[in-house]
Structure formats: C-alpha cells, structure tokens
C-alpha cells in the first residue's frame, strides 16, 4: 500500500506532460503505466503511421524540436524515442508494467488498485488516452464469418490481410491512410465514406497546422465554442503525415483506383449496404474546407502576407461517382477483410465513480471532473482544439496542475 498526493494513470504524452508540470510545482506523484512509456504508440498503431502534426509542432513542455526536419512527420519509433527521453530527462516517477484495475472513491480521496498494489491518493489524473477502444458499428456483427475484421489498432501492415479485396469503413485520418497503402499492396480497396473533414496538407506554401495555429483555431477554448458536443464529436482531419506536404483526399484515392462508396449503413444477407448520401457528405466537406481556406485568405490580406506566401491554389471539388455503389456482396466481390476505421473511444471500465453520462462519456468542465481532485487529459477538445494533439498536452497539463495545486492548498487551509 502506498500513500501519495497524486496518481497519474498513463505514461503517454499527456501523463508525462502532467508529471513535468507537477514536478515543477513540487507535487508528490507517481505515473502508473500498464506497459512501457508510450505504450499505445508502441503497440496499438500500424507500422507506417507518422504523426499528423509536423515535428516543429509535436512537442511537449520544455522539449522543443531540435532535430533536422522541423517540417517532417515523426514515425512511431521516433516518437517513442522522444517520449522515453522526455521521461528520463525530467526524472518522471514512472512505474511501468503496472496496470490500473480499479479506481474507487474513499473518505480522503481515491483508492487506486493495480496489478502491483494499492495506492491511496487525493488526486487522480486520467491520462490513459482517447483511443483505447476502436469503435465499430452494431452491424459489424453481421459481417460473414469468412471475412476477417481489423481495426486501426489491430491492423499493422497490408501483408497481414488476406490476399483479396478489402472494405475500409471510415474516411478520416486512419481510414484514408490505411486505404491507400492496402490498395497499393494489390488488394483492391472499397472505401465507405461518411462525414469527414477535408483539408489540404498545405495551403499557400505553409502546412495547414501552421495556418490553424496562426489563426488561433488551435487555442480556441472549450468554454468559448457554441456547440461543444458537436466539436468534440467532429472526426479527425483527413490528413496523412507521410510524404512532405502531400494531400491525401478522396480524389487522390480515386486516382489510385480506390472505389469510393457511401457510409456503411447495414449488412444483410452477406451484403454490405451503403448510404445514398455520399454526394452530400463530399459537398459538405468541400464547403467546409473552402470556408477554412477563405479564413486563411482573409488573414493573409489583413496581415499583408500576400508577398511571402504562395498563391491561392484550391483543391478540386471531390469527384463523386455518378452512380455510387449501394451494395457490396462480400462473397461475389471476393472481399477478404473489413477494416473498421470508425473512430475510437476511451475505456473507463475500471473507473468506479459516478462521473460518466448515459453514453459512458466523462462529464467534465475543461478536464476538471465532477469529483474533487479528479482530472482528465487528452480527449478531443477537452480544453482547447489542440487538446487532442501532442502539442496540446503542455497547456492542458499546466492549467489542470494549477487547479490541482490550488485545491490542495485550500484543503490544507481548511
């Protein structure tokens, strides 16, 4: 049994950023990690994945990017190396191979049960990630047994898939990247496309992340947006980090020969059914993208950047097939596997506290939960638009550490 002020659950970028902030404030804490540092980045990503944010942006507090390629995109081994180095240099008190089994409230705080004993603490920081479980729709259960199913967490490389056609469901960041490399491996891909957020990798000579930062979008706060639930549900930007400044959109995939179909809405009698809404999904994504680019153009005008940035070259409208496929016969079309790239959700099955809503999502105000001394990090737009990015962890950790320290001071004073 250990008594300690604060337990941080998870030694990924969020947990390590929080550890650094708490150390700066002399808060006694431990970082519990079920595997090794950066465990999810090590074990739950596919081989070719690179970060979607450029290196100059993918930083943690006190650790600016000092490598040779600020505009490049880190591979997973590079990121893992940096996170390990960050933990070592900061002296983060990480206890690895320690899985949290349960968190309960008790009189003076929380009881954290792990595979290596019990911790009693006043504060708990949930930094266990936003992507613990890959979502799959209910109809996934209807897919014929002969078809193998994967998620972006279980998929590693094209060679692991049967040498047949592949249905990739979901056209956000994970879906489009996996669709491209699987199709390139000679397995013909059909990509089911629902709501998605199309952006060019770069615009007017600058990475899109650079523009989003410049326009203040990344620093937009949770308490300053009108429809928080909607922005928290917004799918990830349709981006890829591989290949400098290369845009990966539906047009690029169509050029590769990937077949684009509507959102998967049913599986019946060995056939997948797709929605007839594809044209509208694409039109809406094009309009939304162009509004963002309009905002960038307006910013360029206002700040007289015209002479230092590139021309206003827009991506062509998404080419939608005139008669998109509505049904796909798994047997007849020789589909060997389905990859559900339909989003992720966190797993709080071990959190035995009344802090979730009816859909199992944490109820919180900017990461401060409705239970004293309980905090969460790393979820979409938890405090800012950038909260979901590695670079968002520093600010969120600073704000929540400040809250934690102020609360502890009040407790002592009382």
């Amino acid at each position: 049994m250990t008594r300690i002020s604060t337990v941080i659950i998870g030694a990924g970028h969020c947990g390590l950023a929080m550890s650094r902030r708490l150390s700066q404030r002399n808060v006694d804490h431990v970082v519990l990690e079920r595997g090794r540092v950066a465990n999810s980045w090590r074990t739950e990503r596919w081989d070719s994945l690179r970060l979607l944010t450029p290196n100059w942006q993918s930083t943690l507090p006190g650790d600016p990017y000092d490598g040779p390629a600020p505009d490049g995109f880190m591979t997973m081994p590079e990121l893992i190396f940096r996170l390990e180095r960050y933990a070592q240099r900061g002296g983060a008190p990480v206890q690895t191979q320690t899985e949290v089994l349960a968190v309960h409230a008790e009189a003076s705080g929380y009881r954290v049960e792990t595979t290596r004993g019990v911790f009693h603490c006043a504060n708990v920081v949930l930094a266990s990630g936003a992507c613990n479980i890959a979502n799959a729709p209910a109809v996934a259960a209807e897919v014929p047994r002969s078809v193998q199913t994967f998620t972006p967490m279980s998929y590693k490389r094209p060679a692991d898939l049967p040498n047949k056609g592949v249905l990739v469901v979901g056209a956000s960041a994970s879906g489009v990247q996996i669709a491209r490399e699987v199709h390139a491996s000679g397995r013909p891909v059909t990509l089911a496309v629902g709501e998605h957020v199309r952006v060019p990798r770069s615009y007017r000579g600058r990475d899109i992340q650079r523009w989003m930062q410049r326009l203040g979008l990344l620093d937009q706060r949770w308490d300053a947006v009108d429809d928080l639930n909607r922005v928290r549900r917004t799918p990830s930007l349709q981006l890829a980090g591989g290949g400098l400044w290369r845009t990966l959109d539906l047009n690029a995939l169509t050029d590769d020969g990937v077949r684009i179909v509507g959102r998967l809405v049913g599986v019946r009698a060995g056939k997948a059914q797709f929605s007839g809404s594809l044209a509208n999904m694409c039109a809406a994504a094009d309009l939304k993208m162009n509004r963002l680019l309009d905002a960038i153009d307006a910013h360029v005008e206002e700040t007289v950047l015209q002479h230092v940035v590139g021309p206003q070259r827009r991506l062509a409208p998404t080419r939608v097939p005139s008669d998109p496929l509505l049904e796909l016969d798994f047997g007849g079309e020789a589909i060997g596997s389905v990859i559900w790239a339909t989003g992720y959700r966190p797993d709080y099955s071990w959190l035995h506290l009344p802090v979730t809503d009816r859909k199992g999502r944490l109820r919180h105000d900017g990461g401060v939960l409705d239970a004293p001394g309980l905090y969460a990090m790393g979820l979409p737009f938890i405090r800012k638009r950038k909260s979901t990015l590695i670079t968002g962890a520093g600010d969120d950790a600073a704000a929540l550490a400040e809250h934690l320290v102020a609360r502890s001071a009040r407790r002592l004073a009382a």
Partner: protein
C-alpha cells in the same frame, strides 16, 4: 432549460412539463428541425462557433435579423431540453390508410406519440393516393411514389428555412423540384433484376436569398444532413408488416 416543477412554463413557453409527461404547445415540425440547427457555416449573432465563418456573413447578420417564419429559439430550446431528457425525444409517427377502390386509398394522420405522451392535432390531415390514367386507374390522388418525392422536397425545404434562419439568412423564395427515376419493369414483374423503387432521385433547388452561393450550398448541405426523409430514402430501414385476418370468410372462398 426545463424546470422540473410541474407546469412551470419555460423561458419561451414552448415546452412545459406536466404531471403526465411532456406537453407540446408550438413545437413546429420538430421531427425535421430539431438538430437541423447546428453545423458549420454562417454564424449567428449569438457568437456561434464560427472559426470557419467568413466575416461578411457576420456583418450581414448583425445588420438585419432574418425572418423565415421559423421559431429558432423554440427549436434550440427543445434541442437543449431533449438533450437533458432523452426519453422525451422518442417519437412514434403514424398514418392510417383505408382502401377505397382500385388503386385509390385514403390516409389520415392525426395523432402521434412524442414528448412522453400521446399527442393529437386539432384537425386530422387527409391524403388521397391513386394511380394515373396511364395505369388504367382513376387518378384520384398522387401516386404513392410521388408522395414520397413530395415528402423529400418538403422535408429538405423545411430544413433549408430553419437552417437559413439560424444562420441569419433571409430567404425570398425557395423552390424545389424532385425527379425520381424508375424502371417499372420491376413493379410489373417483367425483370426480377430491376428493383421496384427508384434507381436514382434528383433534387433541384432554386433559392433566392441575401446570401452567397456558397452559403446557400452550405444551408442545403446541412438540410440534407439533418433531414429525416433524406435519411429514410438513403439508408435501409427494417419494415415489419403484420396482418390481422378477419376470420368470417367462407371456407368456399378460401378453397
């Protein structure tokens, strides 16, 4: 926000909780409209999330308040209230239909279940359906498939009006024409490979408003995104049909 006190009127008096559940007063077109009111695009005067909205839209919005006859406040209030009380959002829509003669039938819609209780309109609505003379019928009403097209047009048009108002866009006229393509070799049983339903539907909107082409395109896109009939037509739905057989038939007829 809805008060938990029975019979307490809400801020705008549009939904109130009664002892027996939920009561509607002026919750117009809730099926199509609640939820039609979010999404990117032109922002409203209330400081909607407008990271992507262009400045011109904001200026136009503050100059004049659009009025398309949609009670946006009531719908936004309903949306907020139903978020807090998800069971009240469970609706059952109904229609009754009676055969008259030949292909002619008459449907009546009056009651529905929603907001936790049975609801009833003051007057029933009656819709006749028939087939045209080309099908050797009496043409006493639109064909059922034309009613489906008209339902799609009406649903999208109602959505356009409400989304536009929420975004501060004044509509002057909205006209929709809808065309459903069908090979009737399906319904006539000539070719089993031809489906009975539409092979494709085209909708054309002609909209006169104070907004730019892109803003209107965004309104129409959002209207599709939140349209019940668009969803019904583009996605599969399980349909369960039961039959109550009158058992007073003569055995001779059955044989």
């Amino acid at each position: 926000m809805i008060s938990n006190t029975p019979d307490t009127p809400t801020a705008d008096g549009d939904i109130a909780m009664t002892a027996g559940g939920w009561r509607v007063s002026t919750l117009a077109r809730i099926g199509d409209l609640v939820g039609a009111l979010t999404g990117g695009g032109r922002s409203t005067a209330q400081g909607r999330d407008n990271a992507n909205a262009d400045k011109k839209g904001n200026e136009m919005q503050t100059q004049s308040i659009a009025n398309n006859g949609v009670n946006v406040e009531a719908l936004l209030g309903a949306r907020e209230a139903l978020t807090e009380a998800p069971e009240a959002a469970m609706f059952k829509w109904r229609a009754r239909c009676e055969w008259i003669d030949g292909a002619h039938s008459r449907s009546t819609v009056d009651g529905f279940f929603g907001l936790g209780a049975e609801q009833r309109r003051p007057q029933p609505h009656v819709v006749d359906a028939d087939h045209p003379a080309e099908f050797a019928a009496m043409d006493n009403g639109a064909t059922p498939v034309e009613l489906v097209l008209s339902a799609l047009a009406s649903c999208l048009t109602a959505g356009v009006a409400s989304v536009a108002q929420n975004r501060g866009i004044q509509l002057r006229s909205v006209k929709a024409s809808v065309e459903g393509h069908m090979d009737i070799a399906g319904i006539l049983g000539i070719d089993p490979e031809v489906r009975n339903g539409f092979s494709m539907i085209r909708v054309h909107f002609d909209i006169d408003s104070d907004a730019t082409a892109d803003e209107i395109a965004a309104v129409v896109a959002q209207s599709q995104k939140r349209s019940a009939v668009f969803d019904i037509l583009t996605n599969p739905t399980n349909v369960h049909v039961q039959v109550d057989v009158r058992d007073d038939v003569h055995n001779d007829d059955v044989a």
